[in-house]
Symmetry: C2
Amino acid sequence: MDVQTVNSMTCEEFVCVFGNVVERCPLIAAALWSRRPFSSTLELENGFNEFIDSLSIEGKEGILRCHPDLAGRELLAGTLTVESRGEQGQAGLTSLSSADALRMNQLNSQYKKQFGFPFVICARMSDKDRIIQQLESRVRNQQLQELHCGIEEVKSICRLRLQDIYNRAAKSTKL
Amino acid sequence: MDVQTVNSMTCEEFVCVFGNVVERCPLIAAALWSRRPFSSTLELENGFNEFIDSLSIEGKEGILRCHPDLAGRELLAGTLTVESRGEQGQAGLTSLSSADALRMNQLNSQYKKQFGFPFVICARMSDKDRIIQQLESRVRNQQLQELHCGIEEVKSICRLRLQDIYNRAAKSTKL
């Protein structure tokens, strides 16, 4: 997908395509439509980052709270977004041993109790062992430091989801 | 539902209950969880208003763009949120004559072309004739004036959705 295609989208098309680039926050894509025309797809990615950075602390915490637990209730219940399901699958979280699932669950609860938002990590740039290790390490961070960590992970997820959208569009054009 | 119940909710429960008080913007409820404890349910309502007011112009436009057209494609396709379906039904928009449906469709398109966001009105405080009249009138507003109008309607919708949540909870407690 090139930037001309992005710039030609109606508001509804744009939100349909980019609405879940930030998990369950279509508001952000919907807001960015105001910035058209974009000079490049990179400018759109920067727009997501800038919008996130412009939010207050509670706004950033809100973004993290729109994310599901890793290997959590929503995975079991089948209510994850398509993107999140794919990402957790790629990190091996859909086929954990009972012991790993239990450990992950305990760590997620401890983390959430500590910070008041769920642990967010770009699962596709990680794997089960690294995720558990990061959970154990990050739970010892200070509140604001950890908010910053979580938000930087959101931006990594955002970048990969945008790449997926562009790649899918490029493939379907070639068919 | 009293404020103690609200304050006792986990983050997931809170987002589950209040996540669609602003249409398709769970981010806002998720952010407001940071403000607990609330001293009253009115303080929670004020929180929604304050969060909306704190957004940039593009953020406010984003909120409006998360709303469906009235009597539009989503109503026909059955993809409206439960809240929106109920509100459009109460305003008589689910049983329009073909002529009214066509007129509404034309006006919605004209409005969206003009402003770059959909026409938002608190349907439950209105009816079909008044909605058409408001569409015809508001399309002549200036851009910023109309953004302000739309956002004030979002706040009215928000207030009624909160009342519904409290009333439903009060009823189920009495059963």
